[in-house]
Amino acid sequence: MDASALQSEALAAISGASTVADLEEARVRYLGRKSELALALRAVRDRETGMTLNGVRDALEAAVADRRTALERAELDRTLTEDSLDVTLPGDDLPVGHLHPTTHIRRIVEDAFLGLGYQIYDDREVEWVEDNFDQLAFPDWHPARSPRDTFFLDGRRVLRTETSPSQIHVMQEQEPPIYMVSIGRVYRRDEITPTRFPIFHQFEGLAVDRNITLADLKGTLLHVMRALFGPDRAVRFRTHFFPFTEPSIEPDVSCPICSGEGCRTCKFSGWIEMGGAGMVDPAVFENVGLDPEEWSGFAFGCGLERSAQLRYGIPEIRPFWESDLRVLTQF
């Protein structure tokens, strides 16, 4: 018997088997009890022939096993393929919630300032007139002190008109250096229009340290504006007036809608006004017992809804307060 010829012939038959039944037939023919190989093995007398024939048997058994695995897998796949479905049909209807756009903006602002090493300061909304106006050096004649512009509860208590009283609170509670952002609701006595609502959210930043400069304010606001509106935004300062900062400025951000080309949103100026800012007025430092020759600082305030309007292109302020799922599920 030619062992190697037998092995070649058997291997060809095994690999040529296209069904499990064919494979079984080949196995019986070449490895079965009455196969040529089995008969030869039984007839073996010398050790060398035995090793050769055993080697052939092992090789054929391995080939059968491999082929069987392959054929079974092919058959399973064939069955599974018949069980296919329309993958364009929807999946299970799981409930998915959404955060409010104002919260999205709040998080962007918080994360930007956490990254700069600021604390996030949550503060009360009903405030002493003292902290809302007097300590912040609002002059007596300032229009915000008028009950036409501001919700007073009585002569001493007021719904805060800006997040700035947090500046006073944090400077009274903590020693400098202070780096904080206060975020929350503020109240103005505005009539409700598509673009105004008497309640809105501000974020207010305060840095008090040695040698704080206007340049630091500029760099800080550039950082947060880019966090809010993308890495290509530019920031410029315009002079302004606020009671509690000197110098006071208004920061503008290059229009995120048109990138400065000019559009309706930026009134074709290329710039969008983003709130108020400036260097902490020495009078405010004196009010909280800090020496303005030793300490310097900057402060700024911006609107969350306004930021959200710009970031998401929401033309009106109303949708922020209407709890309409058709609006909110977009965020």
Binding site: S146, R157, I192, G219, S248, S323
Partner: protein, 759 residues
């Protein structure tokens, strides 16, 4: 304030593109809201078609009674034949002419065209056609001029207007001259001297002026003019007022408005012959005193209001508006001019109370330099004499102590420190000089209210350097930015709620009504819906859910994190951050959500039966952080789950840090146990008692079924529990499990009369 550029140019030479000027002013001085273009389209070809013309002949149009047929010299040699509808001129008049092809301000293009059979080769122009004034009844009659002269040389037919909005601390920029000073400083240009030429008085009549309260009215200059010829102002003046947004009225009134716009110090003119007392007394009103102001409104005054009187009766509401009876009219012959000064705060209060804001009060309420009154009087006197042919015959100037320039110590290096930018000291001082500050530095009187301290001077320097200030971050030696525990919990809760399919809403913290009578109420709300500071968050969520029901939404699940305001007498309210939610599905849904929140926050919460007016009386649970359950059907129609929890309590109860427990490798033994108990026994009580009885080897126990029926008898129920036993030390045998079960059954039987079914 609208500033015509041609007027600004009179005080400072402007060469730069106006867009650039507007931008730089916005950055350094005052916001420029708009750069408006007035007049005719500004291109070379068009401007050249507007000429000065002389009417050579004028006669009635042969075919039309209401038209004139004119022959007009426009400098072209051959006179032009022009048809005109106006009659206020004749041969010899110098007029403004537009030739065929010219485009008028509205965009209308002139064509040579026949009018009633005669071709008109142009148009003789009126004020309104050139946007120089409101008058369209007649054409403009110019002073003598050479025919053919470009019209743009004699009239501002092409005008640009800067709409400038200074901040409240810069009333000096509410004047053309003040803005010119700013432009001169910005571009290092020469500023013209104060406008106004001194005129010699033509008499020495006494003018009696008395000030009752020098603090309220620090200065009053009164000047008497005789033989005033009231009439229209010349076109240049009417054009300037028109471009500045003011309506020309008559020469004397126009002069007062013009000088106010030029210098920022408002003036008023009285018809002198109507002043019964013949003198000026400035005093506070008596209670209930009345005055009919120029707008025809009869006003009742209070002692806080300041009045100009003639010694017998009020003739003006000082600084705000003149009186009707003493106004200058066409019949006026003699005029008393007021160039005064008033203190801002009182004026602001009066104008607010009377809801009367005028160009004048808008300036006074911001504080005007009393020295300006003098400049204003001089310019106004010159113009009244020149334009109304009047004689200036009397003068009085009554005042208290006038403000003097104030010296403020200023260190240029301090400005550098504040800006984070080095600017050479001499450059800083040169800039301040251009703004009217003298060296070392002395603040000019028109800036005294705003610039009192070194930091204010620093701002003057800084505002001109804003574009140069670099972008840096504070240099810090220590940094720690992190969320507080409450803030972390809030974020965790928000994430969990979103994961549970809830959508976040923001509802107003001011509501129409609150369940607490002592909730804080606004004395002056803007609407009934936004009047009370809420002490509960849930009602707002219910309202939001209802709105979405009405909008046809399905699968409504809403939540909000916001403050409520618990009154504490006259103290500030106690503000709690609450989380509330509403969702379709009833009690089980609400409890499932609150339990999931508990898992997210790692808290073990005991549930008790609760009561709350918003909730179903039988399906309300209370936990230490708040309330949950099924909404009362009268609160919201249908089956709704809801909850309202105090975030601070949740944060306090939340386990942090998490205490890791080793996973037990020994197998668990699972059993279902059912107990029959009286109806009033709760599953929670049984669970608590079972845990107590079995100890730590009771690994888990969860009720999964409640059965009532014949088999258990009336007034009783069967509660089935899925129970797992597990020991940390060994594999529990069946005997161990039976012993544990026995201990549980014994305690439950003793304490609640519970029977173990099938046990």
């Amino acid at each position: 304030m609208k500033v015509p550029v041609s007027w600004l140019r009179e005080y400072v030479p402007l060469e730069m593109p106006l867009e650039e000027l507007a931008e730089r002013l916005s950055v350094a001085s005052a916001e420029v809201n708009a750069l408006e273009r007035h007049g005719i389209p500004d291109d070379e070809g068009n401007v050249g078609l507007f000429r000065v013309g002389r009417v050579l002949e004028a006669a009635k149009h042969p075919n039309a009674d209401r038209l004139q047929l004119c022959s007009v010299d426009v400098g072209d040699g051959e006179p032009k034949q022009i048809v005109c509808g106006a009659w206020n001129f004749g041969a010899g008049a110098t007029v403004a002419v537009a030739l065929p092809g010219a485009v008028l301000p509205g965009g209308l293009k002139l064509e040579a065209r026949p009018l009633r059979g005669t071709v008109s080769h142009g148009m003789i122009l009126s004020e309104s056609e050139l946007e120089l004034g409101p008058d369209h009844s007649g054409i403009i009659v110019l002073p003598d001029g050479e025919p053919g002269t470009p019209l743009a040389d004699v009239l501002p037919i092409v005008e640009s207007v800067l709409d400038v909005e200074p901040t409240g601390n810069r009333p000096d920029l509410l004047s053309v001259y003040g803005l010119a000073r700013e432009v001169a400083a910005l571009y290092d240009l020469e500023l013209a001297p104060w406008p106004g030429r001194a005129v010699e008085p033509a008499g020495d009549e006494p003018v009696e002026v008395a000030l009752d309260d020098v603090d309220a009215s620090p200065r009053y200059i009164g000047r008497l003019f005789r033989d005033v010829r009231i009439g229209p102002s010349p076109t240049w003046l009417r054009a300037r007022l028109t471009s500045a947004g003011q309506r020309p009225i008559s020469n004397v009134v126009d002069v007062t408005n013009y000088v106010m716009l030029a210098l920022g110090s408002p003036l008023h003119a009285f018809d002198y012959d109507t002043l019964a007392g013949g003198r000026i007394l400035v005093r506070h009103a008596q209670p209930g005193e009345r005055l009919r102001t120029l707008d025809g409104v009869e006003r009742t005054l209070e002692p806080a209001d300041l009045l100009i009187t003639d010694g017998e009766r009020p003739i003006a509401l000082a600084a705000i508006m003149g009186g009707e009876e003493t106004e200058v009219t066409d019949a006026t012959r003699n005029v008393l001019l007021e160039a005064a000064n008033f203190e801002p705060v009182g004026i602001l209060r009066s104008s607010e109370r009377l809801r009367l804001r005028t160009e004048g009060s808008n300036r006074w309420e911001k504080g005007v330099d009393p020295h300006l009154a003098e400049h204003a009087a001089r310019l106004a006197t010159q113009l009244i004499v020149e334009l109304a042919g009047a004689r200036w015959t009397g003068h009085a100037d009554v005042h208290g102590e006038l403000p003097r320039p104030v010296e403020v110590p200023f260190r240029p290096e301090r400005a550098d420190e504040v800006m984070g930018l080095e600017v050479p000291a001499d450059e800083q001082l040169a800039l301040l000089r251009r703004l009217g500050f003298e060296d070392s530095v002395v603040v000019p009187t028109w800036r005294l209210r705003d610039v009192r301290r070194e930091i204010d001077v620093v701002e003057e320097v800084a505002r001109f350097q804003l574009p140069e200030v670099p972008f840096t971050l504070p240099l810090r030696r220590e940094m720690h930015g992190r969320l507080t525990r409450l803030q972390q919990v809030q974020r965790r809760v928000e994430e969990a709620m979103v994961g549970l399919g809830f959508t976040e809403v923001y509802t107003p913290s001011l509501v129409e009504r609150d369940e607490r009578d002592d909730a804080l109420r606004l004395p002056e709300p803007i609407s009934l819906e936004l009047a009370v500071l809420r002490t509960r968050l849930l009602p707002s969520l219910v309202q939001a859910a209802r709105r979405n029901v009405d909008l046809g939404a399905d699968a409504i699940a809403l939540f909000e994190v916001a403050r409520v305001y618990e009154p504490r007498g006259s103290d500030l309210p106690d503000e709690h951050v609450m989380i509330a939610g509403v969702c379709g599905g009833g009690f089980d849904r609400a409890k499932g959500v609150v339990e999931a929140l508990g898992v997210a926050l790692h808290l073990a919460t005991p549930y008790e039966r609760g009561e709350d007016p918003l909730f179903h009386p039988g399906k309300t649970a209370r936990i230490p952080a708040g309330v949950l359950g099924e909404l009362h059907p009268t609160v919201l129609d249908g089956r709704w789950g809801a909850f309202e929890l105090d975030l601070g309590v949740l944060a306090a109860e939340s386990r942090d840090p998490i205490a890791f427990e080793e996973v037990i490798a020994f197998p668990t033994v699972r059993q279902d146990l059912a107990f029959v108990v009286p109806e009033d026994v709760s599953a929670g009580e049984l669970v608590d008692a079972a845990r107590e009885a079995a100890g730590p080897e009771l690994h888990g126990i969860r009720p999964f079924d409640v059965y009532r029926g014949e088999q258990v008898g009336a007034g009783r129920k069967s509660i089935a529990f899925a129970v797992t036993f597990q020991s940390a030390e060994r594999t529990l045998s069946d005997e161990d499990a039976a012993a544990l079960r026995g201990r549980i059954a014994e305690v439950l039987a003793k304490r609640f009369g519970a029977e173990l079914r099938g046990g």
